[in-house]
């Protein structure tokens, strides 16, 4: 793999994926779709760590472990976010960011 594909191609791919996530984050109004956009962003960052690890620091494994911890943190974040979303839906009957504008009702 690393002998045939330059690292720039992987980096451009992850850059595009990151900014697609940013676009979704800016345009979406539903909280769940915003959460999915952040998952895209996190995922592209994890691919970058792995690519740099593989191409330039093959003896070490730092990038690999960083990605592993990113995956674990993303799972924790998704669990909390979805608990909050379910609670908001119970109180406001909506998961639209423009209608949910109070911390306590």
């Amino acid at each position: 793999m690393i002998s045939v594909i330059p690292i720039q191609h992987i980096l451009i791919l992850t850059t595009l994926m990151f900014f697609i996530g940013v676009y979704g984050f800016l345009t979406r109004k539903n909280l769940i779709t915003i959460l999915m956009s952040t998952e895209l962003i996190l995922n592209s960052a994890a691919i970058n760590f792995v690519a740099f690890n593989k191409y330039y620091y093959q003896g070490e494994m730092q990038g690999h472990f960083f990605s592993l911890f990113i995956i674990a943190i993303a799972a924790a974040e998704a669990a909390i976010a979805i608990a909050i979303i379910v609670n908001l839906f119970r109180n406001f009957r909506s998961v639209n960011v423009e209608e949910v504008d109070k911390m306590k009702y």
């Binding site: 045939v4 690292i7 720039q8 595009l16 996530g21 800016l26 472990f65 995956i71 669990a79 839906f89």
Partner: protein
């Protein structure tokens, strides 16, 4: 040659399904497209020969996060319900911001002299090695972040239960 073709297929799949994830108006479909993106990412990890990471990606993301998202969608919206279309102005400005950022980063990536890839062999990266590193307290060990993340997961689990609990 085959690797090149597989890489570009995975790359195109990632980009197309990412775009569909952020533009699809049916939320459940967006979640399924997100699943495809995450599986294609796992394929990328397999190509980079990080098998354990690819397996973790498939089980935690593909098996855990996407299922959670789908549960949340089913709990909070009707099936077949479409999300409101964002206004044209908002779409234009967001697309402009995303394009500007992507152009900036890509122009830096293209110009940066990355240098030759060192061909350092003797790469030990089977699962036994990963497990030893995760529990090692020495110089190259990751015992502290490993323990911290287990406490974080426990705290997140308890927090999720407390937040979502009925009064």
């Amino acid at each position: 040659m085959a690797e090149t073709i597989i890489f570009y297929i995975l790359g195109i799949a990632i980009l197309v399904f990412s775009l569909l994830t952020v533009t699809s108006r049916a939320i459940l479909r967006a979640a399924v497209y997100l699943l495809f993106v995450l599986c294609a990412t796992a394929g990328l990890y397999f190509m980079l020969e990080y098998n354990f990471l690819a397996a973790a990606q498939l089980t935690v993301y593909g098996g855990g996060v996407v299922v959670l998202v789908i549960f949340a969608i089913l709990l909070t919206s009707q099936i077949g319900e479409m999300v409101a279309k964002p206004g044209l102005r908002k779409q234009l400005f967001s697309a402009f911001a995303a394009f500007a950022g992507a152009w900036l980063v890509i122009s830096v990536i293209v110009r940066f002299p990355f240098g030759n890839v060192p061909s350092s062999a003797n790469q030990v990266q089977n699962v036994a090695y990963i497990g030893e590193r995760l529990l090692d307290t020495g110089e190259k060990g990751y015992a502290l972040p490993f323990e911290v993340i287990s406490v974080l997961l426990l705290a997140a689990m308890i927090g999720a239960i407390v937040i979502a609990k009925k009064e």
